[in-house]
C-alpha cells in the first residue's frame, strides 16, 4: 500500500518506519512529506537506520527528496556503509522534505527499519543571496531573525516600501531663511543612485525667490526624440505654474520664480550618471510698480523702485489736486502689499480749476492764456469804456492761483467805476 502522511507545520518531529522497532514488513511503499514553517530549513537526523543492504539500495531503501532532487538514498546498518547516512544531519534547501520508504516482497533477514528526528533550523538569509534574483536581500543592512530577516538602513537613508531598498533621506528640508544654499546629495560628488530628494524653499509672503544655479550642473539627459529629462531630473515647481524639469550639462543660471514658495525635486533612478547640482537662492521683496510715475506730482520717499512694506506719500505739484477717481482727497499714503499691489489705488494729480471767473458788472473778461479756468490761466478784465474804468489801469489781469481763486496784483476782484463828467459830445463848441 501507499501511505501518504501530511504533517503539520511543526518545528520538529519524529519519523519511523512501519512497525519500528520491530522489523518492517515487505512490500512497503510509504512517503512522508515533512514540513516546518516557512523561513526555516528542515534538518533531519537519523538516530537509527537498519535497512536491507543491497547494491545501490536496490531492494529496500529510504530515499530523501527535495522536490524531485534526491538528497540521499539509504540502506544498510553500519555508519561506514557507503549508503548509510550515519549521524550526519541532512538539511533541506527549504522548509520541506520528502521521505520515501520502499521494501520488496522478501526480506532475507529481519531489518528494523529507521527512526529519524527532524527539526526546523533557522535560515540565515542575510548570508545568502536571494535565490530568485541573485541580488542581495537588503541594499544595506540585513538582520537575520528566526524564520525571516529584516532590512534596515544606515543613518541618513530611508527604507523604501519594498522593505529591501535604502534610499538617501534627502527630503523634508524646508528652507525658510531669506537666502541659502542647497545642493544634490554629496555635491560636488555624484549623488547616489535612486535618490528622490525634495527641497522646499518657503519664505514669507511678500518676498520672491530667485534661484541662482552654479555652473557645475550635470543631470543626465536622454536624447530620445529630442532632449528629455527621462530618468534623472530636477523639477522646479512654482505654485500656479506648470512644473519644469531641468537636466543636461548647462546650468539654468538664474531663475526668477516670482513666488515665495518653490519646490525642488531631484530624482535619479538606479542607473545612469548625474553629477548633481548646487544653487544659491536669494529673496527679493515684491515690487509694487508705479507705471509712469505720478504726473504733476511727486512721490516721497523717492526710490528707484518700491517694494513690499514700503510706504509712500503722494503730493501734487502746485496747482494740482489729488484725485482718487472722481473724488478729491486731501492726502494719500499707501503701503506696498505682499501681492505687489498698493493697498490703495494710486491717485492722480489733476490740475486745479478756479471755476468760471466772476462776471464783472459793467465790464467783460476774456482768457489770455491757458485752458479755461485752469491753474495759471489768465483772464483779462476790462470795463465798458468810456463809461466805466478801473481806477489805475485800463485792464486787470487775474490768474488762476493755487488756492483756486482768481488773483491779480491788487488781490481783489476788480470793480468798474463809473466815469464821470466826460460826455461823448462836447458842449463847449468853438463859436465865440
Amino acid at each position: 500500500c501507499v501511505c501518504v502522511s501530511v504533517c503539520k507545520t511543526v518545528m520538529y518531529g519524529q519519523v519511523q518506519s512501519p512497525l519500528y522497532p520491530k522489523p518492517y514488513p515487505t512490500n512497503v511503499h510509504q512517503q512522508w512529506d515533512l514540513e516546518v514553517p516557512r523561513g526555516y530549513q528542515l534538518q533531519i537526523t537519523f538516530n537509527y537506520l537498519d535497512i536491507e543492504p543491497s547494491l545501490n539500495c536496490y531492494y529496500d531503501s529510504l530515499t530523501v527528496l527535495h522536490g524531485k532532487k534526491v538528497l540521499g538514498k539509504f540502506c544498510g546498518k553500519n555508519s561506514w556503509d557507503p549508503h548509510h547516512p550515519g549521524n550526519k544531519p541532512i538539511v533541506s534547501p527549504s522548509n520541506r522534505l520528502q521521505l520515501v520508504f520502499v521494501t520488496d516482497e522478501s526480506n532475507t533477514e529481519k531489518y528494523l527499519g529507521f527512526s529519524a528526528f527532524y527539526q526546523a533550523v533557522d535560515i540565515d538569509e542575510c548570508s545568502t543571496p536571494d535565490l530568485n534574483d541573485s541580488e542581495l536581500r537588503c541594499s544595506q543592512i540585513c538582520l537575520n531573525t528566526l524564520g525571516s530577516y529584516l532590512c534596515t538602513c544606515s543613518h541618513g537613508y530611508q527604507l523604501q516600501a519594498d522593505q529591501h531598498t535604502c534610499v538617501l533621506d534627502c527630503s523634508g528640508g524646508v528652507f525658510t531663511e531669506p537666502e541659502g544654499v542647497l545642493s544634490s546629495p554629496g555635491f560636488p560628488d555624484a549623488p547616489p543612485p535612486g535618490v528622490n530628494c525634495l527641497y522646499k524653499v518657503s519664505v514669507q509672503p511678500g518676498f520672491h525667490i530667485t534661484l541662482n544655479f552654479s555652473e557645475n550642473f550635470h543631470i543626465e539627459q536622454i536624447d530620445v526624440q529630442g532632449p528629455s529629462c527621462l530618468f534623472h531630473w530636477l523639477q522646479v515647481s512654482v505654485p500656479g505654474e506648470a512644473p519644469k524639469k531641468l537636466c543636461g550639462n548647462k546650468s539654468p543660471g538664474i531663475i526668477h520664480t516670482g513666488s515665495h514658495t518653490v519646490d525642488l525635486e531631484f530624482h535619479t533612478d538606479g542607473h545612469g550618471q548625474s553629477g548633481g547640482f548646487s544653487l544659491r537662492y536669494t529673496t527679493q521683496r515684491v515690487e509694487c510698480k508705479i507705471e509712469g510715475g505720478i504726473r504733476n506730482g511727486r512721490i516721497t520717499p523717492n526710490f528707484p523702485k518700491y517694494s513690499y512694506r514700503d510706504y509712500i506719500q503722494v503730493r501734487c505739484d502746485t496747482g494740482y489736486k489729488l484725485m482718487m477717481g472722481e473724488k478729491e482727497i486731501q492726502s494719500y499714503k499707501s503701503m506696498c502689499q505682499e501681492n505687489g499691489a498698493w493697498h490703495l489705488p494710486l491717485p492722480e494729480c489733476r490740475i486745479i480749476d478756479c471755476g468760471e471767473p466772476e462776471a464783472l458788472l459793467n465790464g467783460e473778461f476774456k482768457f489770455l492764456s491757458g485752458s479755461k479756468n485752469e491753474y495759471r490761466s489768465v483772464v483779462q478784465y476790462h470795463c465798458n469804456e468810456p463809461f466805466y474804468s478801473f481806477t489805475k489801469t485800463k485792464q486787470v489781469n487775474l490768474t488762476c492761483d493755487a488756492d483756486r481763486t482768481w488773483k491779480g496784483e491788487e488781490n481783489e476782484i476788480p470793480y468798474c467805476f463809473p466815469v464821470c463828467g466826460r460826455p461823448v459830445v462836447d458842449i463847449a463848441g468853438l463859436g465865440r
Binding site: 463809473p418 464821470c420 463828467g421 460826455p423 459830445v425 462836447d426 458842449i427
Partner: protein, 247 residues
C-alpha cells in the same frame, strides 16, 4: 433856460428830468444817486413815490410816449428808494438848498446817461460854467428839448448887492450865503428859470465836467442886473459822501 441852446444828444448825460409836484431837474452823481435842489422836494408830502426821475433823453416827450412793444428804447422812471434833504435846509429859505435822491437800483451808464463829477471840497469856482435844464424858455413856455447856456460866475459881492437892492421891492428874499454863488450876465437875457431847479451848473477842468452848482433860486429870469443863484456844491461834498456812505 432862457437864451440858451438846444442841447445835442448825449451832451448833458447827467441831466435828470424830475417830477416832484412840478417840473425840476437833478443830476446823476453815482450809479444810485441823484443830486437836486432841496426845494424841489418841498411839495412832497408823503413819500418818494411822488417823485419821478427820468434819464437818457434830451426830449421830455420821449419820457411820456406810449410805446409799442417793438420800440427800441423805452424810458421808465427810475425806481427811487429814499430822499435825503440836507438837514440845514429850512423852506422857504434857500440856504442849504441841496438834497440827495437814492435809487433802488443802479443805473447802467452809457452815452446818454453818465454821472457828472463832484468838485473837490476846497475847489474854487472857475470863471464860467454851463447850466442845462428843461425849464421855461425865453418864450416862457416849458421846454420839450433840453437847453443849456454858458454863464459867467458873478462876483459874490456884486451878487450880494444885487439881491440887497431887490430886497427893497421884493419881500422875503433869502440871504445870499457862502453856500451859494451867482451866475449870469449883467445885461440879462441868459438865465435859468422855473423848471430848471435842481439841474446842474457844471464847470470843466482837464476835459472833465464837474458839478459846481445846483440851480436854486433867483428873482425873475433873465432880467438885467439880476443873477441866478446856485447852491455851491463844493461846500457839501462831505455831506454828500457821508450820506451816500451811510446809505
Amino acid at each position: 433856460v432862457l437864451g440858451g441852446t438846444q442841447a445835442k444828444d448825449n451832451s448833458f448825460p447827467w441831466q435828470v428830468f424830475l417830477q416832484a409836484g412840478g417840473r425840476g431837474g437833478a443830476i446823476v452823481i453815482g450809479e444810485k444817486w441823484l443830486l437836486t435842489a432841496a426845494h424841489n422836494l418841498d411839495k412832497i408830502k408823503q413819500s418818494q413815490q411822488e417823485v419821478k426821475a427820468y434819464v437818457g433823453s434830451n426830449k421830455v416827450s420821449e419820457y411820456f410816449e406810449v410805446h409799442r412793444n417793438t420800440d427800441p428804447v423805452i424810458f421808465h422812471s427810475l425806481p427811487i428808494e429814499s430822499l435825503h434833504i440836507h438837514p440845514g435846509y429850512k423852506s422857504p429859505d434857500y440856504n442849504n438848498d441841496i438834497a440827495l435822491i437814492k435809487l433802488a437800483s443802479s443805473i447802467t451808464f452809457k452815452a446818454s446817461v453818465m454821472p457828472v463829477c463832484l468838485p473837490d471840497q476846497d475847489s474854487q469856482l472857475e470863471s464860467f460854467g454851463w447850466v442845462s435844464g428843461f425849464g421855461v424858455t425865453e418864450t416862457y413856455n416849458t421846454a420839450n428839448h433840453l437847453r443849456y447856456i454858458r454863464l459867467p460866475i458873478v462876483d459874490q459881492q456884486v451878487c450880494h448887492s444885487s439881491i440887497e437892492k431887490m430886497r427893497e421891492t421884493v419881500r422875503d428874499l433869502s440871504t445870499l450865503t457862502e453856500n451859494m454863488f451867482c451866475a449870469g450876465l449883467p445885461e440879462g437875457g441868459k438865465d435859468t428859470c422855473q423848471g430848471d431847479s435842481g439841474s446842474g451848473f457844471v464847470m470843466k477842468n482837464n476835459d472833465t465836467f464837474y458839478a459846481a452848482g445846483i440851480v436854486s433860486w433867483g428873482v425873475d429870469c433873465g432880467k438885467p442886473g439880476r443873477y441866478g443863484v446856485y447852491t455851491r456844491i463844493a461846500r457839501y461834498v462831505d455831506w454828500i459822501q457821508k450820506t451816500m456812505k451811510e446809505n
